[in-house]
Amino acid sequence: MLLAAVLAAGAGTMTVELAAVRLLAPWFGASAGVWTNVIGVVLLALALGYLLGARLSSGPRPAHRLATLLLAAAVCAAVLPALAAPVAKVFMPTGVPLHEAAELLVWGSLAATAVLFLPAAVLLGAVGPLAVEATQRAHGGGAGRAGGRVLALSTVGSLVGTFGTTHVLIPSLGVRATFLVAAGALFLAGAAVGLAQRRAASVGGGLVLMALANGLAYHPPGAREGETELAAVDSPYQRLRVIESGAGDERMRQLRVNESLDSFQSVWSPKAGLLPPGHYYDHFALPLAFEGADGPPAKWRVLILGLGAGTTVRVLEGVVDAATQLDIVGIEIDPVVLALGEAHFDLRPGPGREYIGGLDARVALALTQGEFDQVVLDAYANNMEIPPHLATREFFGAVARVLRPGGWLTANVGGFGAEDPVVSAVSGTAASALGVPVQLARVPFSRNVTLLARISGDVPTPGSAGWRFAPGLDELRPALEVPGAWSTVRPGSETERREDTPPVLTDDLCPLDWLQLRSIREARERWLARS
């Protein structure tokens, strides 16, 4: 019974730890910084719990204390979903824009994690030493024998909790129910030990508290005033919401991820084609605009890495000439995003429209056969993080291999201008890997920059010979002709960058997390308050 309780406790502990980030994600996201805070706080609390358990184990009835601790941990785990919103709001007010959020995401998630998870994790940490002592007293033998058995079963339980949480509980039950399952496992473990120790009163009390906790609601952020939430779902990767605003032909839908702040992952408007100002997707039509200036191409093959819910597809389908056969292969790591795309964003697979979910973009690139006219790179994790393995010299080299001579790389890079640390690092790396100048185009009314490069060719810029647009795409031209709208990054210019930035991002050294944090911290000085 004791060892079964230890197994259940191990499963419950890992479930709480893994689900902790998902519980906080609607306010603080799930970036590496948030993960580090959660893991760090839980480890610290476990350490304290181990010492506490060691002190408690010297009493006359360690099994009694074990039962009490497990029941208390169960109640703590059960109330966590209800406490998440009120605690998170203390450290993350509403309406914070992305460029103000860097410090809040780091410190706010640390404080919220400490408030919410320290008590439960300390209690769970104390389980191990008490279980070892109780086992050793019940079965005899040395501390090492008892400790080894307890640790082995606890670790097996942790494995069950780890895989079960990610692949079963969160996708099928959601975050709140996952915590209740963890609480239930801990309660059953505590009840089993307690009843064996004739502690029915404690078990009864725990049952009452669990029932009360079960009645409390979980309130993640919903739609803002003037918006309607069409869908909300927890995928294995993130919390996803489809939000609609406006009416009639002015309707817009956004796919928002986790904390979203003022960002969006995908966008839909009733009419396919170019979007209202402020959306970088329109720039993905620039290659078609330039190549179609003297007549539409017969065929145009596009590989989209980071398909999302299909915004780029909708833009291209709306602007492509009727004489052009448009073939698209889209890769999206989260299959739930594809499902939402089909349900709410008019994403329609079919002939010439191959959409693959559940596959990492780098892996897809390695498996891709044939040549494309254009590769669109729009892969982001956690709203603002470019996955490091999609920004390295090796990655851009792989992109070059699937592009025909004269083919185009177009990438969305979130950052505050061409001198932004992230924009500078990614564009310099792309230029170095491709061996061609990379052009950076400012996206109007946006924090974003579009990266354009061409294999064995030049990207037209204002005043150059190729600066002509296909009919129907000429409305992109005016904003792009304004002085300062373009920046050029040449191969070899990486050595001119700051000393504390690696010259070229590689699979071995790619500190994008650090660069992105620096980007947001420096945004105010570098881009917003130029004086």
Partner: protein
């Protein structure tokens, strides 16, 4: 003779200023027409040819704003206010741009400056009433932005303090429990 020459010079200067004013008004229309036609580069060049520095800066900022370069537009407005600090429309534009870029403190500076200049307009002037209405709207938006900024600063301060205290307390408890237990 000297007096006549002075009077003649003054008349020429006045006529030039009036002509420049008429030219500027025409240029403003030209700039707006070019923006509407999508000729933003031509509109910028035309704006920079305007004689009055305040108007030139305002037109340039408006063109850059229509091109989606809010940062550039604010920079142009700031430069214009250095040359023409009492240009009401330019101050209003700078305040609007500051709010769009979430720069509450800068918006407050422009609103304060604008309020000072509007107060100097003649009482009963219809322009004065209009500007007072504009100021009220700007004041409301700026106050909201300042409150949001204060909320963020408070939340950050709170998070730093409480997070640090809880981590320190946990570490302290660890150290206490690490001490050997006293045995009777």
């Amino acid at each position: 003779m000297a007096g006549a020459l002075l009077i003649a010079a003054a008349c020429i200067a006045l006529a030039s200023a009036s002509h420049a004013g008429a030219q500027d008004a025409s240029a403003a229309d030209d700039v707006h027409a070019r923006v509407a036609a999508g000729d933003l580069v031509g509109a910028l060049q035309r704006a920079r040819d305007v004689h009055a520095p305040g108007l030139a800066a305002r037109l340039e900022a408006e063109v850059l704003w229509s091109a989606g370069d809010l940062n550039g537009a604010l920079a142009a407005a700031r430069e214009g206010l250095v040359a023409a600090p009492n240009e009401l429309a330019l101050a209003r534009l700078a305040a609007d741009l500051s709010l769009a870029l979430d720069l509450a403190h800068e918006a407050r500076r422009h609103v304060t400056s604008l309020a000072r200049d509007v107060a100097l307009l003649p009482q009963g002037d219809s322009d004065r009433d209009w500007w007072l209405g504009q100021l009220a709207a700007l004041e409301s938006s700026t106050s909201a932005a300042e409150r949001a900024l204060e909320a963020r600063d408070t939340a950050l301060s709170r998070a730093r303090s409480l997070g640090s205290i809880l981590i320190a307390a946990t570490l302290g408890a660890l150290l206490v429990l690490l001490r050997p237990e006293r045995r009777a």
